[in-house]
């Protein structure tokens, strides 16, 4: 597994990583369809933090020793030893939000409507994380472990 590296010095604060994250987690993966025609618009798993002029995107760091996994009461969050990813299994999740409070980066988000959490899955099933491939200034870089 690799990591998404953030370069705040070239982050232009456009928030397009958030937009493309939503597209990546939509049904159609088509930006116009996602926002204008699909019934539910997915939440973004990445958030651009701003204290102008400083801006930088943050998403799940897939920590070595994740506090969210330790805090999870139902075994819905696991640290996958093979891939190194922190994975969320919604079928086991009870919606206690202990992980939300435990995450030191504030990178687990609550979907108020469904009372479920969402977090970065490094765009499971796609070639490259959409936030990385669509950043207009290469402020997000995917660094592979191998």
């Amino acid at each position: 597994m690799g990591k998404i590296q953030v370069k705040p010095e070239v982050c232009i604060g456009c928030h397009l990583c958030e937009i493309w994250c939503q597209v990546a987690h939509s049904k159609s993966k088509n930006i116009i369809k996602t926002f204008l025609y699909e019934k539910t618009i997915p939440m973004s798993r990445v958030v651009v933090e701003e204290n102008l002029p400083l801006t930088f995107p943050m998403q799940c760091r897939h920590c070595q020793e994740p506090d969210c996994v330790s805090a999870c009461i139902s075994g819905a969050l696991i640290k996958d030893s093979a891939s190194g990813k922190v994975i969320h299994d919604p079928s086991k999740c009870v919606g206690c939000f202990s992980c939300v409070m435990a995450c030191p980066y504030g990178n687990i988000f609550v979907n108020e409507k469904t009372r479920e959490i969402v977090k970065c899955d490094l765009c499971e099933g796609l070639d490259e994380p959409y936030c990385v491939s669509h950043c207009p200034n290469e402020a997000l870089v995917y660094v592979s472990d191998d």
């Binding site: 232009i12 604060g13 397009l16 493309w20 801006t55 207009p136 200034n137």
Partner: protein, 504 residues
């Protein structure tokens, strides 16, 4: 005062594509796009739009088009829209109308009236992918004669040789100072020049101390009328020195970097207090004659132990050939000529659009004059202004240039769209600004790569065209006007350019 100005641009937003991501709002430094959360609608304040196209490029759904505003005054050949707008602007402010970039008026562009030759039947063309093709260019003074003695079977050059610089391609980045452009833009030019084996020019803003060891050997350092950042270390860190007498965009006038742009690092580099205006006087106050110029040239040579070529840059004006001759006789190793379409970060519109002559004519006149006087070998000619593509470069070389300076082309490669608002300090592309939020838009890795690509792309094209002419080294094309023909030019223009008409 209520403004009578018409908006310059209209912003068209396709509602079937806009997803309200607000990227346009965040990217516009002029506050054109505004999101209204009550209505979930984007509004456009078109009167603020400068047409830089940043929003149109960043929009992820291509929902935006920025076009010229359709509002028109009654048609009038004398009173064009520009004349109306500028006059009204002036009536509202009482000031000088400022602008940025190069002359955009429809003066004849001679590049577009010159065509190149190619080999057919009687001499073979060359395929640069299969055979060697040399773009290597040496700039600097060449000896009058080359005397070679053989000693123990080894050749030895007896003639006195002067410092020359070796360029991998005859394209050099022209003077753009740190302060006028952002540190990242400046450093991108330096990195690209180093990577491509050519030179960048510091302009009159000095060379930051931390860049000297790494980029000094690719730097042309300017000594301009403001003398910003000039000291012994600065001069000695460079590959070449340049005395800036004039600039094509504003011949005869000086420069003014507003105090707001003079941040700490710029102040240190320019050796002036932070926040003070950096004013470059119109003339060099110690140069009022060719003899004075000679004194400065030799002062600079003395300071650098006669190890570096010294260039003198002048704007192309009416008697440019005689001026160039004087410059060479004063001891300059390189004459840089900046023509009518040369760029700038800020200039009065009236000067930019009306002063100077086209570089093509100036270049041809200078080359001819120096040849006629038998002193062409004593200097290299660097031609600047209005070089837009590789064929402009090759035509400039055929007209007599040793190499060309590119400024605007390099900025366009980095993102510039010639919106001409450089003087506002709000460059949406992060090039001509010191705003810490805006400068982040230039990722030095990307902009360096774009500049390197530009030079390599042009160099490939130049090789192709040289090969087509049956020439295998750019040296052989220099001043070879037989390879040019004019189209749609009058006799006096053909005579000044020293080229025959097509078909002759």
């Amino acid at each position: 005062m209520y403004s009578h100005l018409l908006p310059e641009f209209v912003v068209e937003r396709r509602e079937d594509r806009c997803i309200r991501c607000r990227a346009c709002e965040r990217q516009c430094p002029n506050g054109v796009h505004v999101y209204d959360s009550d209505l979930d609608t984007m509004f456009s304040l078109e009167e603020n739009c400068v047409g830089c196209q940043r929003c149109a490029v960043i929009c992820p759904t291509n929902a935006l088009s920025v076009r010229h505003h359709p509002a028109e005054y009654r048609k009038n050949s004398s009173w064009t829209r520009d004349r109306f707008q500028n006059l009204k602007k002036q009536a509202e402010t009482g000031g000088v109308v400022l602008t940025g970039s190069g002359n955009d008026k429809s003066y004849r562009i001679y590049w577009d009236h010159l065509v190149l030759n190619a080999s057919q039947v009687t001499n073979p063309s060359i395929d640069p992918l299969r055979e060697p093709m040399e773009l290597k260019t040496f700039i600097g003074r060449k000896p009058d004669t080359l005397k070679i003695n053989m000693e123990d079977g080894e050749p030895r050059v007896e003639s006195e040789l002067h410092p020359n610089l070796e360029l991998e391609t005859p394209i050099v980045f022209s003077a753009m100072s740190y302060g006028a452009i952002s540190y990242r833009a400046y450093k991108s030019l330096a990195r690209a020049a180093k990577e491509s084996g050519t030179l960048f020019n510091t302009g009159e803003g000095g060379l930051p101390a931390e860049m000297r060891a790494e980029f000094g050997s690719n730097a042309v350092v300017q000594c301009a009328s403001g003398r910003f950042g000039v000291d012994k270390d600065y001069l000695n860190s460079a590959a070449m020195l340049e005395i800036k007498i004039g600039q094509g965009a504003k011949p005869g006038i000086g420069g003014h970097l507003p105090g707001e742009k003079v941040a700490e690092h710029i102040a240190v580099t320019r050796m002036i207090p932070r926040g003070t205006d950096a004013l470059s006087p119109a003339p060099q106050h110690d140069i009022y004659s060719i003899e004075d110029l000679s004194m400065l040239i030799y002062a600079l040579k003395e300071a650098t132990n006669y190890e570096k070529p010294v260039s003198v840059k002048v704007a192309a004006v009416h008697n440019v050939a005689a001026i160039a001759s004087g410059i060479v006789r004063a001891g300059a190793d390189i004459v840089a000529i900046d023509g009518l379409r040369g760029g700038t970060g800020a200039a009065p519109l009236a000067t930019r659009d009306n002063v100077g002559i086209p570089m093509e004519l100036a270049l041809a006149a200078v080359d001819k004059r120096l040849r006629d006087e038998g002193i062409r070998n004593k200097c290299s000619i660097l031609a600047a202004s209005g070089i837009r593509c590789s064929s402009d470069v090759i035509k400039a070389i055929a007209l007599g240039a040793d190499a060309v300076y590119i400024g605007t082309a390099a900025l366009v490669a980095m993102g510039c769209t010639l919106c001409q608002k450089c003087y506002t300090g709000k460059c949406a592309w992060g090039i001509c600004t010191q705003d810490p939020y805006l400068v982040k838009r230039l990722n030095p890795e990307i902009s360096t790569q774009r500049l390197v690509n530009l030079l390599s792309g042009w160099s490939h094209e130049i090789k192709e065209m040289l090969g087509g002419m049956g020439i295998n080294a750019v040296e052989s094309l220099r001043g070879n006007r037989e390879h040019l023909r004019g189209i749609g030019l009058q006799e006096w223009e053909l005579n000044t350019l020293g080229v025959k008409g097509a078909g002759e």
